[in-house]
């Protein structure tokens, strides 16, 4: 099966740098799957699960948040704000974050900008829990 060069980076580290068969990511327009020889393409990322299939056909799950995806000349780059493989996710922490965000959303007004922030936190926490399980 043909592959392409995939790089996944976050501000504090290089998460992945190698050949891959495919990657599925949550973008602002919904889920996108990139296969080899994709046309040049760029799109901002949303909050959601990611799944990478490497050259040997192993698939790994991850939680991905923000940033952008860019495909140029069969080089695929994921520039994410945070990116954690399923085995790196701290489930306890994610559950705590979920509860805290829910608590805050109960007491805050819907118009409050803190409400939107709590909502984003909740989404991130839920994504992590999903990616883990």
């Amino acid at each position: 099966m043909s592959t392409y060069h995939l790089q996944i980076v976050t501000p504090d580290r290089k998460v992945y740098d190698g050949e891959a068969q495919k990657i599925i990511l949550r973008t602002v327009n919904g889920d996108v799957c990139i296969l080899p020889h994709h046309i040049d393409f760029a799109i901002p990322l949303g909050i959601g699960q990611a799944s990478v299939t490497d050259a040997d056909g192993n698939t790994r799950q991850a939680a991905c948040n923000g940033g952008m995806l860019s495909v140029s000349n069969n080089e695929v780059r994921v520039v994410a704000v945070t990116y954690e493989w399923a085995d790196e996710i701290d489930l306890e922490r994610a559950k705590r974050a979920e509860e805290e965000a829910e608590e805050r959303m109960k007491i805050l007004d819907r118009q409050d900008k803190d409400f939107a922030m709590a909502e984003v936190r909740l989404k991130r926490a839920l994504t992590r829990i999903q990616a883990k399980g």
Binding site: Q7, V9, T10, P11, D12, R13, K14, D17, T27, V28, N29, I39, D40, F41, A42, I43, P44, G66, G67, M68, S70, S72, N73, R77, V79, V81
Partner: protein
């Protein structure tokens, strides 16, 4: 008389020795911090480079003057993000950064986002408006804090507090050389000498919207990597400064030892002469 000067020299040796102990300890601390700082810097580089490439490609295709991030406007006020150290004793590290700001700003009024205790103190004394004065500790500045600061910067840029944004940091070239860099962050300059590519990139939803979403992330990543770069520079500047201070102290001590021994010899010779002179009479 000889006794008095001998005592003075001995005291001086003692004081230089204790200073040397301090500089030596600081050098060792800096050396051990340097390894981690360099690692952090290396890890922050790929993001900055890759996101820069992607952003520049989108900027080249963006022709909408509505996108504030790429559209230059009349410059009434500038903003400098100045990254300096938390402490001194690092050679010219802090001073060089401030010199670069002074040289670059010219007569244009500016506000500052200082990072590092020394930068906060310096610009407070100068009376420049500060966007934030809470980041005194650069060493532990994390990614999420950089995101918060970037949000503050973008808000300031969008509501017209300033029209240009510059980043002033120290780039780590090697253990021996670190150089201050002034980089324009906003508005993003269009790449000039880009040869027209015949491949068309699809931007979703559009290049403009892509930039609106991706530029804040790019800036936060850039800020983080500049912080890591500066901290590595600071530590290696301190290591070099303390290394030469320790060497100087060693030289001073050996000079003083020589003087002390001469004075001691002189005192003994004088005593013998006096005794011999006394015996002859």
């Amino acid at each position: 008389m000889a006794g008095a000067s001998m005592k003075a020299i001995k005291l001086r040796i003692k004081s230089v020795e204790s200073t040397m102990q301090i500089t030596k300890a600081m050098q060792l601390v800096a050396t051990s911090k340097l390894r981690r700082a360099k690692e952090r810097m290396e890890n922050s580089k790929p993001y900055a480079a890759i996101s820069r490439e992607a952003i520049m490609a989108a900027v080249a295709q963006c022709n909408d003057p509505q996108v504030m991030f790429v559209t230059p406007r009349e410059v009434k006020n500038r903003c400098y993000v100045v990254i300096a150290g938390e402490r001194g004793l690092a050679g010219g590290y802090n001073a060089n950064v401030f010199k670069a700001v002074a040289a670059h700003s010219g007569d244009t009024p500016y506000c500052v986002l200082p990072l590092g205790r020394k930068a906060i103190d310096k610009f407070q004394r100068m009376g420049a408006p500060l966007l934030d004065d809470t980041v005194g500790h650069v060493e532990g500045l994390g990614v999420s804090r950089c995101y918060q600061l970037t949000q503050r910067l973008i808000a300031g840029y969008k509501n017209g507090e300033f029209d240009e944004l510059f980043l002033v940091y120290t780039s780590f070239r090697s253990m021996m050389s670190q150089e201050v860099e002034v980089e324009q962050l906003l508005p993003i300059e269009k790449p000039q000498d880009e040869q027209p590519r015949n491949v068309v990139t699809i931007y979703e939803p559009s290049p403009e919207e892509m930039l609106e979403k991706a530029v804040p992330d790019f800036l936060a990543g850039r800020l983080y990597s500049a912080v890591c770069d500066s901290f590595a520079s600071e530590v290696s500047a301190r290591r070099n400064a303390m290394d030469s201070a320790t060497k100087n102290a060693g030289e001073m001590i050996s000079d003083l030892r020589l003087k002390y021994n001469r004075a001691r010899q002189g005192a003994i010779t004088q005593e013998i002469t006096e005794i011999v002179a006394g015996a002859e009479h």
